[in-house]
Symmetry: C2
């Protein structure tokens, strides 16, 4: 397929909102033993659960390193397609292609730069050579041409779009010195506008408390339910550092307007109780130089906002926590036409992300 | 996708003739330096030429090991799709899936056993672990369920079908002790009938002279132009060992009838002059224990029969040999509606096969 040097905006392609109709979802199979405990076996079971849930609603493809191919194929149900694809870790949201469509419904990919969330500044694993190529390889599998902009480091979880000209990011991530230190905020905004084909970028100040893996990805704190409507991770506990963060973001969001000139309708999505890594969990992880450790007692970046929106469903991480029910209730009201699919996801959280981080949707398109 | 334990015959699926309409073609990228001289660079150029030719007529996918992905993507034209897939060598005909269709046009794959043309008996390289999985992985890429019969060793180049109930093989290959020594001729015939869904198996006695790589694959000596019509590799030179072989096969073919009760119309396709490996060519190959050597002076198994039939074309290996023109003329008469595309293919021959060996067609189907 063709590697394009123009931009989606120039060619009339835009990134659809996640809530728009989808063709399918991609995931990457977890296996690295310095991030996923006990040989990644507990995580693999949860990834199977997530993939199986999605496959009830749309096409599901699992991308797998060659040494785990047979195992993944054996663990996954028949309606999940399994394709070999080399990777360093399993964050399809962040390393996968971002897909854009034009008015005719034709699709193309975007192959961003990737440096494991901060490269030699504060990246969380090394090397990331295979992950750098996933956007390209996914586009080739999908038989679409793709925009290559590998000199701009950008994970898919660091932005959300409303499909109507608005993009949201966090300042924490996008301006982190580990991403694009040679570029100003203005230059970064210009690139986002060109590639996501948006007119307005909302710069939310902060990501979720202690979201050290990603430097505070937006997809763990805020999401578009639909154009003009967002959910924001929330806490009413003044002793929780999340309290101040959520209020600061709320204040920002309540003042801005989106690309269409709308004020945002903001819904609070209460966080689960603080979740900490246990000694047993920490003890199941291999020590590797250069990999972010998962220490006993570390507070994890647990949020219900890290859900995937799909055709007729919302795949929601839950934690066997008293707040689970409230999250389900809030989201069911916001998504009256979609089934809320709660999945016990502590194992994904232990790896540093959640359901949105491990999935990448392919919008409906007309290429084939 | 689903791994099926029934058989295509049981489920009403048959392998179409290669001359029937196709969806596309798969190839595998050459790279092993113990088989392809000079770091496989000359072979890669010819594979690019073959892929580019096919891509003019139908969808073309190149499967590539991860360490050659970027190089293959750079060398191939934009209209070739490049997908990562681990392999030990580049014989897509022999290691790729065999695709079968039913009356509704639905497609499935067959994932045969593979042991590098004879395993520890007389296999030509070791290991073959990745090659064993290519049929499975191709089926998953194509999003089709597949029949797994890995306890039956069978390369795709060891059979041809007419799409109307007849299959042809050579005794040399199918009865070689390196394939299925635990099975009788009768048992092997039964498996072929079940999986290719044919009623009759034609057992041609011998393959091309000195075709040591494959123990005389049928696809180097005989092919169905259409049901009832075959081409047979031929020599009129009594001093050439090919002379006797071709006559023996001719005698067999002139006596048998196909599944529909037809006598076969046999066309002679004259071989090129004997082709020998030069000192320079042999000197460009790495020595590796367990790999079939390519020695100076070895006669190669050169044949024009090793062509690929596709939508509107025939991709024909030529050798800058005086016989090239005659082969083109013969085939143009037999395929009046297809363009004969001659490709200088000595580099593929040096690796032990030719254009048919490095390609695997996907029949037209209705799955997507």
């Amino acid at each position: 397929m063709k590697r394009l040097k123009t931009t989606p905006k120039q060619d009339g392609y835009r990134m659809p909102g996640e809530f728009e109709p989808q063709e399918g979802v991609y995931m990457l199979w977890p296996q690295r033993t310095d991030n996923w405990r006990n040989g990644a076996k507990p995580a693999q079971k949860v990834f199977v659960k997530v993939a199986s849930t999605i496959a009830k609603y749309e096409k599901m493809t699992m991308l797998v390193n060659r040494d785990q191919y047979a195992n993944a194929r054996n663990m996954l149900p028949d309606n999940v397609r399994v394709i070999e694809l080399s990777n360093n870790d399993s964050w399809a949201r962040d390393t996968g292609a971002t897909f854009v469509v034009n008015k005719k419904g034709e699709m193309r990919g975007i192959d961003w730069g990737f440096n494991a969330y901060g490269g030699f500044y504060d990246g969380i694993y090394f090397p990331w050579d295979f992950d750098e190529c996933i956007g390209q390889k996914m586009s080739e599998i999908e038989e679409v041409d793709y925009y290559q902009i590998r000199d701009f480091v950008c994970e898919g979880g660091s932005f959300h779009v409303d499909g109507e000209g608005t993009c949201m990011v966090t300042e924490e991530t996008l301006l982190s010195p580990g991403r694009n230190p040679d570029k100003s905020k203005k230059q970064i905004e210009k690139i986002l506008k060109e590639y996501l084909n948006v007119e307005k970028v909302l710069w939310i100040p902060k990501g979720l408390y202690n979201d050290v893996d990603t430097n505070g990805h937006v997809d763990n704190i805020c999401n578009f339910v639909k154009p003009g409507v967002v959910v924001l991770a929330w806490s009413d506990d003044k002793k929780d550092p999340q309290y101040k963060i959520s209020r600061e973001d709320y204040e920002y969001l309540s003042k801005v307007k989106d690309a269409r000139g709308r004020k945002l309708e903001i819904h609070k999505l209460y966080c689960p109780s603080p979740q900490y890594i246990t000694a047993e969990e920490s003890g199941g992880i291999d020590y590797v130089e250069g990999t972010l450790p998962r220490n006993e007692g570390d507070r994890m970046a647990a949020s219900y906002v890290n859900y995937l929106t799909g055709n007729g469903f919302v795949a929601l991480p839950v934690f066997n926590d008293p707040m689970d029910e409230k999250a389900i209730e809030t989201l069911q009201k916001l998504y009256p036409d979609r089934k809320i699919e709660p999945i016990y996801a502590r194992e994904i959280l232990l790896g540093g992300g959640n359901i949105h981080c491990i999935t990448q949707q392919v919008p409906k398109h007309s290429n084939k």
